[in-house]
Symmetry: C3
Subunit: 311 residues, 3 copies
């Protein structure tokens, strides 16, 4: 029997809804799951993962998190769903709730798609946002915070650089906000065209060569080729030399400093291919932690919805 944690959420759709205490509680709970804590179900709980955009790591990670918690995962293929007959997302969710699905994990190309799903009495489901358009990606933010917390034991005074495609990254905006709230010092780098002056409130923009020696965390963002229209003119080698984490730059990092990347990686663009599995790189650990933070998120929304099924 587990005492009800302090992190119960009716839905988990945006990092903005989470105060520092909740973020820390979720990380703490994820660490418990990582060390073997198991959840007890009193009856079958069905989950459906609705991924309207492509994903390997997020989709699989949620599925394994669900299964580790003992949930039953129902197959949902958007291409083969009634969405292709023009059904609204709300009506699709209504259907899934009616047949007994109690947790919906949704990735969708529309910003804030979840607004029409919240506070609907007819939708007795727990909801997690697995990425909305160019909006947010809270499970990625939380696994990043968990990985930093695990490595450094906390955030106070930590220097974190977020580097690259800041404007197109679902996770950059969430991370700069939450890092500031948690007490870290944030820096930015990457092409100035991909930088927005509103980021100034969260940290300082600097060329990568001025950053690389001082920060504790180099958080490299993926170049989102699929979101750029002018992809054909993009010069990967030039980007790597000017904005990327080259082997030479990595060699100048502080001894304990780490490299992070949300994946999928464009090897040789954001960072040198050989760095992916270097001892500095937390890439694999981020993915590993992703399962446990998602377990904590799922438990939180299931408890917050009080639909039963959890001991």
């Amino acid at each position: 029997m587990i005492a009800e944690p302090l992190t119960c959420q009716p839905a988990l759709v945006s990092m903005r809804d989470l105060d520092v205490r909740t973020v820390e509680a979720l990380i703490h709970r994820a660490e418990e799951f990582k060390h073997g804590t198991e959840l007890e179900l009193t009856e079958p709980v069905y989950a459906a993962n609705l991924f309207f955009e492509n994903s390997t790591r997020t989709h699989t990670s949620f599925e394994i998190a669900e299964r580790r918690l003992g949930l039953s995962v129902v197959d949902f293929n958007p291409q083969a769903s009634s969405v292709s007959k023009g059904e609204t997302l709300y009506d699709t969710c209504l259907t899934l709730a009616a047949v007994g699905v109690r947790l919906l994990v949704i990735r969708h190309s529309q910003d804030a798609y979840y607004q029409e799903l919240l506070h609907q009495p007819a939708l007795p489901v727990a909801l997690i946002n697995a990425g909305d358009g160019s909006g947010e990606h809270p499970s990625q933010s939380l696994l990043d915070m968990m990985t930093i917390s695990e490595t450094f034991g906390g955030f106070a005074g930590l220097k974190v650089a977020i580097v690259g495609d800041l404007n197109h990254s679902r996770v950059a905006r969430s991370n700069m906000e939450v890092l500031q709230k948690l007490g870290a010092q944030v820096y930015f780098s990457g092409p100035e065209a991909w930088y927005d002056n509103q980021f100034d409130q969260f940290g300082q923009y600097l060329p990568i060569d001025e950053l690389v020696e001082q920060v504790d965390v180099m958080m490299m963002l993926r170049v989102q080729h699929e979101r750029h229209n002018d992809d054909s003119t993009f010069d990967q080698a030039a980007y790597h030399q000017q904005y990327g984490l080259t082997l030479a730059r990595a060699a100048r990092m502080k001894p304990e400093a780490i490299i992070m990347h949300p994946g999928p990686i464009n090897r040789g663009v954001e960072l040198a291919s050989d760095l992916v599995e270097s001892p500095r790189s937390k890439f694999v650990e981020q993915m590993r932690n992703g399962v446990f933070i998602r377990m904590a998120m799922i438990e939180s929304v299931l408890r917050g919805n009080r639909l039963g099924g959890l001991a």
Copy 2:
């Protein structure tokens, strides 16, 4: 241990194969499942859902019904199957039976596709038709009957209107036949171009405004945009005013009368969007009952095939 029910079927492909007693027995069994009856399996039973046409509610509902019965559901994606290498449906089913699948639930665009699968000694599987072309959709018919039975306690003397795209609906034809057999009085409405004179044997055609005050059930059919060629000229607002269940018409319904819809709904076309979650609407209850009626159907064909696995 459950006494063998009276509803065993070697396959469940058409409502025409089911007499009144069998329909009632399936509804009764579904109500038992709804009230918590569980099935005992003596060994793993594998099921595969072959949906060659898009579906959310029917596909998910069958999958949850299978899992609630304890079956193991095997992933089948038609786009990634050997059907795309020109394999016949029969040979695909032969393959699935050979590797150990014992229940096949199939939706296919070809009318009566199941004919080539029945009475094949080499195919030791239980078969359920989840929709064939413009043929039938027995699980939808049965869940409709279950919902009416649950609401009114029976069918004798009940007045049921089936309204809309009668010619293109897989479920309209089945429902008019079975409703007549069960003792209800059937009425029709909708565009005359979508009405066939052969329906006269089952009930009377009337304009919706002459029906709406007298009937106990307004069964609204989905406008099957994907089956109409002249879609571009279809005027949704005009349809709604002339043939749809507007708010004004709904206000004229008898106090206890209900609204049904098989989904997915074209909101504002067949019925006013606000009616979907009105107290009159059985839309969500129909979907909920769908899981239990499918459990009853699955049990029936598994027992009828005597392939073992059920206590």
Copy 3:
């Protein structure tokens, strides 16, 4: 508790890596599974099946083999994966390993795709090749050997004809090599344009009418329409008459001789449609055995990787 068998493999990607003793041990183990032996898991083991090429029988067979062993099968749809964002196969596998997947079963259009996945310390997974380009298809080879072994009790002196699309068949090359190693006598037939002189080292090429009366096994290969460019000019009836197993030819086979086909069958091309379910045909038995041989393969690589989970 099962004594560790002699067939442990870190990965199972090519028949060339398997000596005669290992092939025999895998067949022996598969027969034990066929007779009801069960594996005990000490913790959940997650498997993912990555099928980048279409398949019904191999995909479903691996999935059922995994489930019969008690593994948890994680959904993976290549069309919806990050591979479509340009992620390398290696990075996709790294992701799946990081989130906890311990067995990868992969089919891919690239020959020897698995080379970049072997001997990678960062990839702590068991790997099975379910077909690589025009390379190999070891689980098909092994189920063929199991079916022959079961029927005739051994291979010594057995005459086996491999007939048809020898050059485009993933399984023909593996089978001629392993059959020779196991002591069988190999013959070939089919269009000369689809025969390569390097096959001479494994057996003799003969017209089908000179073979059909002497051999114990007629192993018919599928005409791989999807791999031929000149498909439109291919005359199915002419192929059947000249190279296929017609009813007349089948009637001339030895009393105990059998017909094999890897599926999917082009009925009326490689063999007469009526032969598919004839008593001579081992088509269904091959598919049935496929589940058990795959169970043996999976156990072998899981034990060979010593990642735990098996009692």
